[in-house]
Structure formats: structure tokens, C-alpha cells
């Protein structure tokens, strides 16, 4: 009686003593009746025994000492106070994000506040049109270069402090 697939799957477990009694007895009966099956089981057993030929392993004598040394280094890292840069690591990207938003806001808001509305279409030279359009900015460019943000600019618009410049 040849071994079934299930029998073959059980063979290793049988050799390891991991089958329940009933299944083990059934398989053992088949093995006793079938020399080929018995030879196959024996080959499985012998191949397993050959693992004993693997070289014996001896860890280095300093293994424990080296492990404790690594542990000491790990402990130093574990208990060291966190550098300020790490503690506030969220601060830098947040600052950059705020600066970008501010720059966008200044550019956008400034274009409404500083630039006059576009003049009606004319047949004038486009370059001339551009000059006319941006003349107020060009005339005050030197002053605007000193301004860092729009709020600062707005804060200068206080006639009671700085006089009225609307005419100039």
C-alpha cells in the first residue's frame, strides 16, 4: 500500500512524535507493510540526522563583555538630554511656513494696495502703458525697498504723526 499525500505530509510529524496516537498507529501500520514507504521514512530520518554534521559553534569568549559594552553606549544615548535643536525641531519648519505665507500675503496684498487699477485700453505703446501704470511704484521704489512688510507700510499712514503726503 503506497503512502498517500496526507501520509507523506504526516511522516515528518510521525518521526517527531507530534501525531496523535490514532494517526500515528495508522501510519505505522502502513509503514510496516510497505518496504518502500519504510525506506522513505528511513531516508527522512537519516537526512535529519545529518544535521549533526554541522560544525559545532563556539561564540567568542568576549561575547558577553562586548555586549555589555554596546549596552553601555546605548544607555549613554538613551539617557543623554535631548539637544535644543531636537526639542524645538518643529519650530524651524513652522517658521519657514509662516515666512512663505507672509511673503505671499505681502505680494498679494501689496499688489492691490500699491498698484493702481489698470487704465482703460488705449492705442498707446504697451511699454509706455506699463511705465504709466507702475509710475507711482517707480517714483517711490527707493523707499519701498526699505519696507519689509505691508503692516509696517500701513503703520506709516498716520497723518497726525507724519503729515499728509497725498499731494506729493
Amino acid at each position: 500500500m503506497a503512502l498517500s499525500e496526507e501520509d507523506r505530509a504526516n511522516l515528518a510529524a510521525y518521526l517527531d512524535g507530534e501525531l496523535d496516537d490514532e494517526t500515528a498507529q495508522t501510519l505505522e501500520a502502513k509503514l510496516n507493510l510497505d518496504p518502500e514507504a519504510r525506506a522513505e521514512a528511513d531516508e527522512l530520518k537519516q537526512a535529519w540526522s545529518m544535521l549533526d554534521f554541522l560544525p559545532k559553534v563556539e561564540p567568542s569568549p568576549s561575547f558577553t563583555h562586548r555586549t555589555m559594552e554596546r549596552l553601555a553606549i546605548h544607555r549613554k544615548v538613551e539617557t543623554a538630554p535631548m539637544p535644543v535643536s531636537q526639542r524645538f525641531s518643529w519650530f524651524v519648519p513652522m517658521t519657514w511656513a509662516a515666512a512663505v505665507l507672509l511673503a505671499v500675503g505681502v505680494g498679494y496684498g501689496g499688489s492691490f494696495w500699491l498698484l493702481p487699477p489698470a487704465p482703460p485700453r488705449s492705442h498707446a505703446d504697451p511699454q509706455d502703458e506699463q511705465l504709466v501704470r507702475y509710475l507711482p511704484v517707480i517714483e517711490r521704489l527707493r523707499a519701498y525697498e526699505q519696507v519689509e512688510d505691508i503692516d509696517f507700510l500701513r503703520s506709516l499712514d498716520q497723518p497726525e504723526l507724519f503729515g499728509d503726503d497725498s499731494g506729493s
Binding site: E18, R38, A47, M50, L54, P59, M68
Partner: protein, 225 residues
């Protein structure tokens, strides 16, 4: 302090940590490690490093890497000490960590094959058998040569198994773990372990067929050990 830890563990796990500590002295040691007792940790390293290095060596096939991996296992044990809750034998937990590290290492090796430069690491393959015979005309090393050859052949046979089969084989053979224990370490069902070992042993039989009777005679008696 150790008693306080035990009581705290009882409160957390329900009941078994004190019982486990009584049954498994290594669990008691680990509870001390949880309390930052480094001498307890050194004791655990001393107790387990031989077994761990052996397992890693048979899995990886490289002595230096095996020691590095074994060290890493211990360091992970230490790093994870505050979260340690004894639910099983300490060795089960230890080898679970070892299993994860070993599988990662084996998978990395598959992606980046390592060519051993050290003759020792490639197995005792120094002089080829014919050359050794010429060097030793008395013929004494034949038996030793056979053993060395067989060692290399068996190591290569082990390397034909996939990672999980290899781990299951090494744990069963060299750690004497039964299927249930292997299942716990590898986080598989017992049925899956049975299937792994069945295929692994069949693969080994096929690869080692030509060498099986080199050192012994076939056995025609009852086959169960």
C-alpha cells in the same frame, strides 16, 4: 524592588507573571532587567548567548554575522524591557525576537548575496579533498575529510530551504522545540509549522539523498525514534 515589579506585573497581566517567575527563573531575571538591573541582563546574556549564536550561525552560515545578530537580539531585549510582560517562557520571547531578526537578515542576503572571503566562513573547504589526500599520504584524514565535506554539504542543503523552513528546522533540531513552541516563536499555527517541517525535511532528503549512507548503514528496523 523585584517584588514590587512582580506585584505590578500581576496587577497588569492578571495572574500568571508570579507563577511564571516561579516556574521560569529567566522570567524572574527579565523582570529585574525591566527594573534596569544590568547585572540581571548580563546573566541572561551569559545564559543564552551560546544557544543564540548557534541558532544564528546555522541560519546565516557566517560566524561573525551570527554574533552580531545575537548581540542585536540582546540589545532589543534590553530596549524592550519596559514593555516586557511575561506571558510565556522567557526563551520563547527571546527566540521570537531572534526569529524576526534572522528572517530580515536572510531576506536582505537574498537581495544582496554575500560572498564569503574568509575560508572559515564558507565552511571547512580549505584544501580540496584530492589535495588533502596527497598531503596526508597515510590516509588518516579521510574520515575527517568526509566529515568536513559532509558538514559543507549539509550547510548547503540547509541553504536550499526557504527562510521559514530553515528557521523551523533549526529550532526543532537544535533548540528541541516542539511544534507548538515553534508556532509561538514564529507566530504561526501549529498546522503551518507541521507543513513547513514536512516540506523542509522532504527537501533535505532529496538534496542529501546521495550522502545519506556515507557514514552509516541503512536501517531496516522500526523507524520511529
Amino acid at each position: 524592588m523585584a517584588q514590587l515589579c512582580d506585584e505590578a506585573a500581576v496587577a497588569t497581566t492578571g495572574e500568571s507573571s508570579t507563577q511564571l517567575a516561579l516556574r521560569d527563573p529567566d522570567v524572574r531575571l527579565m523582570l529585574r532587567v525591566r527594573d534596569d538591573d544590568e547585572s540581571a541582563f548580563a546573566e541572561l546574556v551569559e545564559l543564552y548567548h551560546h544557544r543564540l549564536v548557534t541558532v544564528m550561525h546555522h541560519l546565516i552560515g557566517n560566524a561573525d554575522e551570527a554574533e552580531d545578530l545575537a548581540q542585536e537580539v540582546f540589545l532589543r531585549v534590553f530596549r524592550g524591557r519596559k514593555k516586557y510582560h511575561p506571558r510565556a517562557k522567557f526563551s520563547t520571547w527571546l527566540f521570537t525576537i531572534a526569529n524576526n531578526l534572522a528572517l530580515n537578515a536572510l531576506r536582505t542576503r537574498q537581495r544582496k548575496p554575500v560572498i564569503p572571503l574568509n575560508v572559515r566562513d564558507s565552511g571547512p573547504l580549505g584544501p580540496r579533498p584530492a589535495e588533502q589526500l596527497v598531503r596526508d599520504p597515510k590516509g588518516q584524514p579521510v574520515h575527517r575529510m568526509q566529515q568536513q565535506e559532509l558538514a559543507a554539504v549539509v550547510q548547503q542543503a540547509l541553504e536550499t530551504l526557504n527562510e521559514r523552513q530553515r528557521v523551523a528546522v533549526v529550532l526543532n533540531k537544535f533548540e528541541d522545540m516542539n511544534y507548538a513552541e515553534i508556532a509561538e516563536v514564529m507566530e504561526l499555527s501549529t498546522k503551518a509549522v507541521k507543513s513547513l517541517l514536512s516540506r523542509a525535511r522532504e527537501n533535505l532528503r532529496q538534496v542529501l539523498k546521495g550522502y545519506i549512507y556515507m557514514d552509516s548503514q541503512p536501517n531496516d528496523n522500526g523507524v520511529q525514534e
